[in-house]
Symmetry: C3
Subunit: 142 residues, 3 copies
């Protein structure tokens, strides 16, 4: 089963190996869809959407939203940003454990995490990143 959480972020960027308007600083409201694959657990969920959102916020949005993407990713084409996001999130089980140990996290989510035994099969399946509604990149780590 696949679980997808979609968020948006607003960032500036420019391409460094391009002829045309994209070589000038500009920006997008990016749409990001993060999809995990895993089994349903006893509580009826693969993963709480709120927890997945928190991981995306901590690991991705806090670094990319309202930033110049060139400060984080070299030559930040949509393709290269998608690969960067994949690499940040690909060890998803480790990230979940890190969230569980964060003293600032939501107490209810922490209670949930303590009860949760994430299936061995849970993994990051796909990153879909759109720089506009009609211009998207899909990356599965291959």
């Amino acid at each position: 089963m696949f679980i997808t959480k979609e968020v948006t972020f607003d960032s500036a960027h420019f391409l460094t190996d391009y002829y045309g308007k994209c070589e000038r600083m500009h920006g997008h409201t990016y749409s990001l869809q993060v999809t995990l694959e895993g089994e349903i657990q006893k509580n009826g969920m693969v993963i709480d959407f709120a927890l997945l959102k928190q991981i995306i916020k901590n690991r991705i949005l806090n670094k990319l939203d309202h930033q110049i993407l060139n400060d984080v990713v070299e030559n930040p084409s949509t393709e290269r940003v998608a690969v960067w996001i994949w690499n940040e999130l690909c060890d998803v089980k480790k990230l979940l454990m890190a969230e569980a140990g964060d003293p600032n996290m939501d107490q209810n989510i922490r209670k949930m995490l303590k009860k949760t035994h994430f299936e061995k099969t849970m993994r990051l399946y796909e990153i879909k990143l759109c720089e506009t509604t009609g211009s998207c990149v899909t990356y599965r780590g291959e």
Copy 2:
């Protein structure tokens, strides 16, 4: 070839094994995408969208729309509702035959059905269920 019909329904639910706001009765405008896989037939279609919509209406919306999901599905997380919908629709060829025998069905669709020889390969491929725009589950029966 894949055929996808998307519908929405408005239902209440609460989670029974959860700490946090989702344990309180609340609701969503769910978006449901039903995807079949099949071959194009002589009339140019895999299946008439109107017929697929009627099956979804009869088998899913009539049971879930403007209802408390907990009365139909135990602990109705998006994951568990998606599995329930899959099980309701998975024998799609049998459902089509049942529609053909329903005296109340649209006469034009009935005429179409009489002419139709559904390919052996037609099957339910995927259920995608979103409880909000950005929180979705995709299930392929595995």
Copy 3:
């Protein structure tokens, strides 16, 4: 990695082997998603979105937008139009080379093309065509 470009076009059509309202001339704002699969090149992109859009414009929109689809595709169901689009775009590397030789094309895109060595693995992966928001066909050439 997958690259998707979405466009819309507004066309009239009627079905020729159908009982019901779709046998009358009517129309849709179709949404078309074209997905290529390929490797990231040195410039950080699989293919420039602007170039993919130009190919879709030249090969598809110029033939289908604000037209009667029946003049182009026999019995133009969504399924049959999707197959027609697939066949128009499936030799995508040849189309890219043709764009590079077109004297009317955008000079910046031409400069990009001259620098580009498209990977052997680049291919058309998927056509998704929706005749309304909730009625879609997905075709992968099989």
